[in-house]
Symmetry: C2
Subunit: 572 residues, 2 copies
């Protein structure tokens, strides 16, 4: 492609509001443009990357035995009602009414539609196993789209679905996809870590997220350097006992109310009462599927809502508003405590169960209670591990200290089991003629987000540094002075040579200053730069420069093509 004819609108400055480097560079290098909040147009250069990434995904899905399909974006309400997700999915599912008043969702994921297809077309165990996948535009009406294509409302996604006759089969399909994901991310130049994760609105038994470790990631990842254990913060477990302070049973002291005027937060209370957060208990009121529940968490801990939801098999779970808090405790927000509450379930985190003489609210405005002790002062209905992992927690498998980092979720695989096949009736005849629901898995990769993650990991202060496999073009030819016809002709000659050899090349033939061209070449970040300047035409030395290492070669014009070929070969 000749840059004089291409729509590659590079920018010197980062766009206002772009918070992370990939967002800034995608706009600056002219890969994408925002149309509306969370909606992006892929411009020619960006779309080339998108296609390359999609092709890598497609090749690896095919290699793993996947068969590609294309399912409609419009997803009939009735199917989602059968799966029970129509109401569950909430406002993230965009809904549209057709001219005949039938209602459709704009597919955020396709479990319902693929299960409907399976129930119609798969009748016998002989047709199993099967893996179907598509690469398709998806919709999620994010409440706060951000980070460019990283959290968009319309995006490209590869979603695959496996159907097996038994759980051994599902395990095999799951492993196939897991391995394919590892190959995909490696080919895209990414070092990924698979971590145990929540199943969320997709559901099922087991799931893993594939995380690209990066400071700009929105997810917190916990891992063990010893045994390789890794999990999303919501899913992470910790070894019990060893990391708790081995407390000597302290003599219980008498319960005592104290005034804490306007002191609502942990910080305010601890400062005022001159105590530590670990002497306090946070009394949280949750609305869980319509009923209020009291949760007790140590002052320095955070609740893990995902574990709590699992524990209670909850569909909807949210912190109570002030009205409900008042109704349950008789006090405003900030002064709830476990003593004296009646007719309400109380769940304590395991760490709270080991505390004595602790502080919590007194269920009166501006009052806290000291020296609270479980059993003596109130009863708990359940004790469970419902706090988040914290620094210095130990690995649940090998008890080494856990590490914390951040990650970008680029893929997610789920063992769904029979959740959808049972609800939608996707059954097959087994070898004895019995009807059984198929065991399903589902497997997603966010293509747009994957590209953003590649840029997060492959850039420097000047711009993007594309790995060869996903670079929009392999080579930049920069004609230093386009007004010099000898330079222009030589650049043109290299361009034609490379095009005829199937090398993907971008020729900067624009009539502008060389400084701008060099800046643009670094910003766009193609792996190999060929610089055609005075030296090239006067001394017969053409400069070839590698974008990543900065390594330079000077070769005579006739050696340019072979050199480029060998550099491409070496980078593969």
């Amino acid at each position: 492609m000749r840059m004089s004819q291409a729509l590659i609108p590079t920018l010197k400055e980062s766009p206002a509001g772009a918070e992370i480097i990939s967002h800034k560079l995608m706009i600056r290098a002219g890969l994408t443009r925002m149309l509306s909040s969370g909606l992006y147009s892929w411009l020619p250069l960006g779309y080339k990357v998108l296609r390359k990434v999609e092709d890598i995904v497609r090749e690896e899905m095919d290699r793993a035995g996947g068969q590609e399909v294309l399912l409609p974006i419009l997803s009939p309400q009735e199917l989602w009602q059968q799966s029970g997700r129509w109401d569950l999915y909430g406002p993230e599912l965009m809904r549209v009414r057709d001219r005949h008043d039938r209602i459709f969702g704009l597919g955020p994921t396709h479990e319902e539609v693929i299960t409907d297809l399976a129930r119609r077309e798969i009748g016998s165990y002989r047709q199993l196993p099967i893996i179907l996948y598509q690469i398709q535009t998806k919709f999620r009406d994010e409440i706060r789209p951000r980070f460019g294509v990283m959290r968009a409302r319309e995006f490209r996604m590869k979603d695959a679905y496996s159907f097996d006759k038994d759980s051994e089969g599902l395990e095999k399909s799951y492993q196939k996809m897991y391995q394919a994901y590892c190959r995909i991310f490696t080919r895209c130049g990414l070092d990924c870590r698979a971590v145990e994760a929540d199943t969320g609105p997709i559901g099922g038994e087991i799931s893993h997220e594939f995380m690209v470790l990066s400071d700009s990631g929105e997810d917190e990842v916990i891992y063990c350097d010893g045994c390789g254990y890794a999990a999303n913060i919501n899913r992470a477990e910790y070894a019990k006992g060893r990391n708790q302070r081995e407390e000597v049973r302290i003599q219980t002291k008498p319960l005592k109310k104290v005034k804490t005027p306007g002191m609502k937060t942990i910080e305010e209370v601890t400062t005022f009462l001159k105590c530590k957060p670990e002497n306090l208990v946070k009394t949280l009121i949750y609305g869980i599927d319509g009923r209020p529940v009291v949760i007790l968490i140590r002052g320095d801990h955070q609740i893990n809502e995902s574990r709590l939801a699992d524990l209670l098999c909850a569909r909807n779970l949210a912190l109570a508003d002030e009205d409900l808090i008042y109704k349950v405790t008789g006090a405003p927000l900030g002064f709830a405590g476990p003593v004296g509450l009646k007719g309400i379930e109380i769940i304590a985190d395991s760490a709270v169960a080991e505390m004595s003489n602790f502080i919590s609210g007194a269920n009166q405005p501006d009052m806290h209670m000291l020296n609270i002790n479980i059993d003596r002062d109130f009863k708990t209905d359940r004790v469970a591990d419902i706090r988040r992992v914290i620094p210095r927690d130990r690995c649940p498998k090998c008890e080494r200290e856990l590490s914390f980092t951040r990650g970008i979720e680029v893929g997610h695989v789920f063992k769904l089991g029979t959740k959808y096949s049972q609800r939608l009736g996707a059954t097959f005849s087994d070898s004895k003629g019995h009807r059984r629901p198929a065991l399903m898995g589902c497997y997603g990769i966010g293509i747009d987000r994957l590209i953003a993650a590649i840029i997060e990991k492959h850039h420097d202060s000047e711009g993007i540094v594309w790995p060869l496999a996903v670079a929009p073009y392999q080579v930049s030819i920069i004609v230093v002075n386009s007004d010099d016809s000898r330079q222009a002709d030589l650049g043109e000659k290299f361009y034609e040579q490379m095009v005829s050899e199937g090398i993907e090349v971008l020729l900067d033939d624009k009539p502008q200053r060389s400084g701008v061209k060099f800046k643009d070449a670094d910003l766009i970040g193609l792996p190999i730069q060929v610089i055609v300047g005075t030296q090239s035409v006067k001394k017969g030395k053409v400069e070839i420069r590698l974008r990543e290492s900065g390594q330079e070669f000077r070769v005579p014009p006739e050696d340019v093509l072979p050199k480029i070929k060998s550099l491409i070969q070496a980078a593969r």
Copy 2:
């Protein structure tokens, strides 16, 4: 691919409700399945065809200098309001409200979005010309989806947009796209005819539809064998005068009312009054942008609403309902006539203007009027060519008699001019620094419909007969008896050989009767069949059969691969 592992659900019977052959065969061969009215899933075999066709389109768009982009499906209401199409588009445009109550259309076409991109990114004549295109899922809420993917509500479309600095440039871009379309359809095995067409809701000055001539086509095409003139029925013109009866001016007779009880249609009236349709005039009342207009058409002619709309620059045009007819004429439907109407515009077709002593309604229930004469009995406000072309009309260019046929519209190209660039302010600086709106063209190909058209033209009584370039696989290997391990092994060997040579091959290794396999192979319609049966293993003769011609070759096993290669080469 091994059929034992593939999802290729072939059917013996045509599905209920499938009216045209392509629809029947796409379902029977397992290419697609209907999810809901007008919504189709592409199964693995069908999706392979879709990808091949999209790749042909992409290659030819790139060759013509197009640059591929991907624009969001969600299209902001504000842009459509700026172009004036938000209200104009009607219920075909599906609309969705997001969680923040912003409204979007599901893009049926992308003039607004691409013009918005151009106004932001194209500032100078130096950036022109430019052609941008995308291959994307589109939505049109058809009132009556039918013919399978031929008239669906969600479909794949290639839409391209050109931007030029002047009308010479636009003409060049238009010709480039026109030529690219010819190459695309030829490569897909289709003989297309470009015909002059209406611009419809897209608008602009000139447009051509690319028609695949076929009896199952929904469009009527008029063409001249002499000079090559061709047009859609709505657009077609005819030579004037020569094909009209050369009438001698007849003496006018006195106006006369007659009773025609319950006679409303042309047929009823002509039978009752013992006259010919060409002695009658249909008096039609239209609502045109809110006002009623009277249209006079000869009894044996049909109105061309498209021409009428052009004539009146009408945005909305529809036949009046009974209420409006009564209000205008004082009579029920079927008895309207031009005599005595007051305060309403009357437009007569040119053929009516040449009539004398004609019959029409009397504007009274159950009454017609005889011997009506223009000027003597009423005045027309305008006379114009507003009837449709009919058999025996002559070519407007060379006056040879026109031919009539039917066609499937697979592509449509438009010279938009400055319609969108002016409304949305997509201007550029010309070489003198003046701001001018870009001249635009737009160019669409319906991918799904193109595939249906290929099947309409390439099938026989047994099934599909794929042209090699778009066949989902090139070769079928049919193992006649899968229980015979020698046959199975030989089939497997050919399969492995071909796969390793990059030949696309489908191996029928299913444990079923050979009759079913042969039927399936013909139904699926891959170009080359390799039949591995008793002859192959006993006599060392393998049968190779061409699906289209039925031609057969018998070759020793070691010659199978070279023979297949040469057949593929020959078919290219």
